[in-house]
């Protein structure tokens, strides 16, 4: 069970208060109507799903109800950092 620092509450809380909400930094296309089916399908469904460093969205569902981003290693389950929506990660995977 993860121990997660909520950047909004500024406290560590148990994973039971949170849940993951998928890959972070997936902006909704500004003009969906001009997207092709392929582009829209890609936005909807296709994911990086990396083994290793991953940026994902979490929500403090049973807490402040706020979303935030997390950089986490999907192999070791190490949480490298949490950061607010709109901020950029300071740790990224080597490409």
């Amino acid at each position: 069970m993860y121990h997660i620092y909520c950047p909004h509450c500024a406290e560590y809380r148990e994973e039971e208060e949170f849940h993951a909400a998928g890959q972070a930094h997936l902006p909704r296309p500004l003009d969906p109507d001009s997207c092709t089916d392929e582009e829209w399908g890609t936005y909807l469904f296709f994911r990086k799903n990396p083994r290793g460093i991953h940026h994902e969205l979490w929500v403090h569902a049973a807490g402040c109800r706020k979303f935030f981003n997390m950089t986490r290693d999907t192999q070791t389950y190490e949480i490298k950092e949490v950061y607010k929506i709109g901020e950029k990660p300071s740790i990224v995977a080597e490409s």
Binding site: M1, P32, D33, Y43, L44, R65, T76, Y77, E78, I85
Partner: protein, 1005 residues
């Protein structure tokens, strides 16, 4: 009544408290402080079970968590049965009832044992993959036999009378294991003021010090233990948990501890006490001071009762005052093993020989043995033992120093006990739980904990530090390290002095050679519980199962309830030898939770029955109960399903409720609908983005129905939203969808459109919602309001803030029944008051309460959908015939718009929701029936869609249904056929789903 193996003196048992227990129906005596195993050994019980494959007699091998054989059924009553209890870990209590688990008709005279003897050779590992295939039809008979033979104990067949607790902790340092290292670590951390927890699986702290004759500062080690425990107990910042097994070590230093609170008292917990408790601990630092297990050697017939691991012999003598035999042969590869023979000798029984596989032994313990005149045979091994239900003698032979072959003549010795040790195996299990791989160390001939990402320290035996002095100083160092990491002050601790023994290097030996090849030698067991032999492992390797994981899976090694604590490393060594690899090349062994098995009830805790999931009730729930309502589970809510009167059938009740609404007035408790309060200057814009229809022009005081889709265009929720103020809305959602919708709104606001100023809050529980519906609803309500609620003053789809029954209320003129309706929302704590007032004045209109089923029928008469019943995540609004609810021209590309325009969503032959009228008006199509166009088609029949909602409509006098039909919206008047399970076929005509009042006049009066 004699405890023939009990010593006159010594041990940590209380001889003044004699306890009676039974084993296989016979009564015996033991003492307080005994384990079931020590009491059995004291009474000379050799046989504790039969092995599951070969049905060989088995005895107690070890003294702790690593015991593979003494796995018994416990329990005096049916409800208190516990299968597979390790006798070595079960404290004795008065009245304990135990039984062996295998053997028929009894463990003493077992017929399967004969089969094992005769057929054993037919059952090499994996034999079941190679046979039982012909004929195919007989497999189930074979399987029934296999199943009966397998399994150990049995489940109780009555419900558990006990309860179980959970408790959460946060601590600075959690110490696992209260042996010398753990106690030193705990004392260090405690003195600095850290919040310390220390857990140990045994009934008292001390670990190996409970079983030793070693001294600290010249006094018995137990005195030091007592003084440390006393000091720790006095600290307020320390929690001591004996009888508590740390069973799992999870990510981010989350640790679970299984405490057995009452299992030492009786097989049912005393009144008001929990039988067991799970401690869930988030520790800043964890110190693993878990010690080591003695590893037995693998030799011929090493499973005959009387064969034990060496350290267990010492434990039984020193801790329990029990000598488990008369004549001992000890086989060892290392100096530590000598201790068992020394203890045996001191207990006054005969040591026939110490057989040391090394060619020289000059360490302190060897010298001590020599000084006592014990016969030491060097460079040799016990290659096999004789005996059936008890060891009667051994064959000893010189072996080569690579350990691979017998090099000289066999010598026979008589003995009834064989103790063996191949060295210690550090108890690294917990360190592996989070994915860390252990590392082989040649020096200690064992695995050490690998690198970890956890905030974990290790001390003592787990690090291969087996000398007492080293364990103590490692414990102290681990405590100091934790303190410095925590930023707490270092402390002084004067460690007691232990004698330092001179050690010779151990020999790396696991599998004792025999004069015959392994495949022909007497069985040499590696994993007792699963009957895995060295020959079996060699065979697996020969057959190509070369990865240690394959070996384990093919032979079942390590899959028992002991999880290979004794056998895994030996098995790897056997495999390595035949594959001509080193042990680390063969692979490592990975341990997963649990360290030892834990009770399901303890894992579940109180979260069962009533507390399995919270129940949610509306404020009028007690009224519903009094009125005899039947309830339906919707999400966590208990909703009235229908209100039968007297002996009324469900259908009769529904008919009555439906007629009452259409002809006079009914009332529904709609409080469970999700309600979300939405405010902010951009609230209106936001609604326009998340709903498919238009919201820009909804005036204050008005309500509107909305459909909500995912980005894929598929409908996932719906409801009415009211405009409370220009920047203030109240959204309703489905009962089950409330939480999901709120999160949906939040995620879009927080991640996509943070520039919009809008705030959401759930107010579901703040309001009671009372839906008064039917032609007489206005008459009824007007008696209780302070406001003119005529159609002119309070038209359809408006809402008003008025007073109802003296209580401030938001009343919505919206209708899910198609009748004149008022949804009265009052503060939840007024709900019952208003409800009862309505019934007071409603009597003259025969105000009728109705439940969800009538609600479903009434809305279906009107063709209204229920999200989740008439939708399933694969239908968009156009599929539902609800294009009217999609404002394609809205300037913002609302959620779902692009999705529903994808190629597959534009197909004309999609399944579309239509009304269905059965040819025989009395027939009601079962919900879930699958439709076909061609009733004569062969299976697999091309299906065209299923029935989502179907009812008898008493109002209309015929059945009504809604369902999906391929291209249905353009097939009005055509037939669909529903072939049912009983072979009958119902024919229905595709029609509009609006069966009643298509113009909507009734609701608009």
């Amino acid at each position: 009544m004699t405890q023939k193996n009990r010593l006159q003196n010594g041990g940590r048992i209380d001889r003044s408290q004699s306890l009676t227990f039974s084993y296989n129906g016979k009564e015996y005596q033991g003492f307080k402080g005994d384990t079931l195993a020590s009491a059995m050994l004291a009474n000379g019980i050799d046989l504790v079970g039969r092995s599951f494959k070969y049905s060989r007699p088995r005895g107690i091998v070890a003294a702790g968590a690593e015991e593979p054989n003494a796995v018994l059924q416990l329990g005096a009553t049916e409800a208190t049965q516990v299968p597979n209890v390790r006798a070595t870990q079960q404290e004795l209590f008065n009245g304990l009832v135990s039984a062996s688990t295998n053997g028929w008709p009894s463990v003493e005279t077992d017929i399967m044992g004969m089969v094992g003897k005769l057929g054993g050779n037919l059952m090499p590992p994996g034999f079941y993959y190679k046979t039982f295939m012909f004929p195919q039809s007989l497999w189930e008979n074979y399987e029934t036999m296999i199943r009966k033979a397998a399994g150990l104990g049995r489940s109780p067949k009555k419900n558990d009378p006990d309860s179980y607790d959970h408790i959460n902790h946060h601590c600075d340092v959690l110490i696992v294991g209260a042996g010398p290292a753990g106690l030193a670590a705990a004392l260090t951390a405690a003195r600095s003021g850290a919040r310390v927890m220390i857990a140990d699986e045994q009934n008292e702290f001390g670990g190996c010090l409970l079983s030793t004759k070693e001294t600290l500062d010249g006094k018995p080690a137990a005195e030091w233990v007592a003084s440390v425990v006393a000091e720790l107990s006095a600290f307020e910042n320390v929690i001591l948990l004996p009888r508590s097994t740390v069973n799992g070590y999870h990510d981010h230093n989350f640790v679970t501890i299984h405490e057995r609170c009452t299992d030492h008292l009786a097989d049912i917990a005393p009144a008001l006490q929990a039988r067991q408790r799970m401690h869930k601990v988030r520790a800043k630092w964890v110190v693993l001071a878990t010690g080591a297990h003695d590893r037995p050697l693998v030799y011929g017939n090493n499973d005959v009762p009387g064969c034990m691991v060496a350290s267990a012999v010492s434990t039984y003598i020193n801790r329990y005052g029990v000598v488990p035999g008369n004549e001992l042969v000890l086989m060892t590869t290392n100096d530590y093993g000598y201790q068992a023979a020394l203890d045996w000798h001191e207990a006054g029984r005969r040591v026939a020989a110490i057989v040391d596989t090394r060619t020289a032994a000059n360490g302190s313990r060897a010298q001590a043995a020599r000084a006592k005149g014990i016969n030491i045979i060097l460079g040799s091994a016990v290659i096999e033992v004789q005996g059936g239900k008890r060891v009667t003698g051994v064959s000893i032979a010189p072996i080569s120093q690579d350990g691979n072959k017998v090099t000289g003549a066999i010598k026979a010795l008589s003995a009834d006990t064989v103790a063996s040790t191949g060295g210690w195996s550090p108890v690294i299990h917990l360190s592996c739980h989070t994915g860390s791989r252990p590392i082989w160390n040649d020096e200690i001939v064992g695995f050490l904990p690998g690198k970890t990402l956890q905030k974990q320290l290790t001390a003592g035996g787990i690090n291969g530090q087996y000398e007492l002095a080293a364990a103590l100083s490692e414990g102290f160092a681990a405590g100091q390290k934790a303190l410095s990491e925590l930023g707490l002050p270092a402390v002084e601790l004067v460690l007691p002095k232990a004698k330092v023994a001179v050690q010779d290097a151990p020999m790396s030996l696991f599998h004792i050679p025999h004069i015959k090849p392994t495949s022909q030698a007497p069985k040499q067991f590696v994993d007792y519980q699963n009957d895995v032999t060295a020959a079996g492992i060699e065979l697996a390797c020969r057959e190509g199962f070369e990865s240690i994981e394959h070996v384990k899976r093919y032979t079942a090694m390590g899959f028992g309830t002991d999880q290979g604590k004794l056998g895994n490393i030996n098995g790897m060594a056997v495999a390595a030898k035949i594959l001509n690899k080193t042990i680390p090349e063969t692979g490592t062994t990975i341990f997963r939770p649990n360290y030892t098995p834990i009770t399901f009830g303890a894992v579940a805790g109180r979260h069962r029955g009533e507390l399995f999931d919270p129940k949610r009730y509306s404020a009028m729930h007690q009224w519903h109960i009094k009125r005899g309502a039947k309830f339906e589970d919707v999400g966590q809510w208990k909703r009235p399903w229908y209100f039968p009167q007297g002996a009324e059938s469900m259908q009769d009740a529904l008919n009555r409720e439906c007629l009452a609404v259409r002809n006079s007035v009914g009332i529904l408790d709609a409080s469970t609908l999700g309600k979300i309060d939405i405010q902010g200057k951009d609230a209106r814009e936001f609604l326009g983005r998340v709903y498919t229809n238009a919201w820009a022009k909804l005036a204050v005081g008005k309500c509107r129905y909305g459909l909500m889709c995912g980005e894929d265009g598929m409908v996932f929720d719906d409801g009415v939203t009211a405009c409370l103020g220009d920047q203030h809305f109240l959204m309703t959602t489905t009962t089950g969808g409330a939480a999901r919708v709120l999160e949906w709104l939040e995620i879009y606001h927080q991640t996509e459109w943070p520039e919009l100023e809008v705030y959401f809050n759930t107010v579901t529980d703040h309001w009671s919602t009372l839906t008064v519906t039917g032609p007489n609803s206005r008459k009824l309500l007007s008696e209780l309001v302070d406001y003119d609620i005529t159609n002119e003053n309070f038209p359809y789809m408006d809402w008003k803030q008025i007073t109802v029954a003296g209580v401030p209320a938001r009343v919505f003129r919206i209708s899910f029944t198609g009748e004149l309706s008022f949804e009265i929302n009052v503060q939840a704590n007024y709900g019952m008051h208003v409800w009862e007032k309505l019934f007071e004045v409603g009597a003259k209109y025969s105000l009728t309460p109705y439940g969800t089923e009538t609600m479903h029928i009434l809305r279906a008469e009107k063709g209204f959908i229920i999200a989740g019943q008439d939708t399933d995540g694969s239908v968009h609004p156009h599929d539902l015939g609800m294009s009217w609810c999609v404002a394609a021209k809205k300037p913002f590309s609302f959620i779902g718009k692009r999705g529903m325009a994808r190629q597959d969503c534009m197909r004309e032959d999609r399944k579309q929701l239509v009304g269905l009228k059965t040819k025989d008006p009395k027939q009601v199509i079962p919900e879930g029936a699958q439709g076909v166009f061609d009733r004569t088609a062969q299976i697999p029949m091309p299906m065209v869609g299923h029935v989502t909602s179907s009812y008898w409509s008493e109002n209309l006098g015929h059945s009504i249904a809604m369902g999906f039909v391929k291209g249905g919206l353009s097939k009005m008047g055509e037939s669909v056929f529903y072939p049912l399970a009983d072979g009958s076929v119902i024919e229905a005509e595709i029609c509009s789903p609006i069966f009643l009042d298509p113009k909507g006049e009734r609701q608009n009066v």
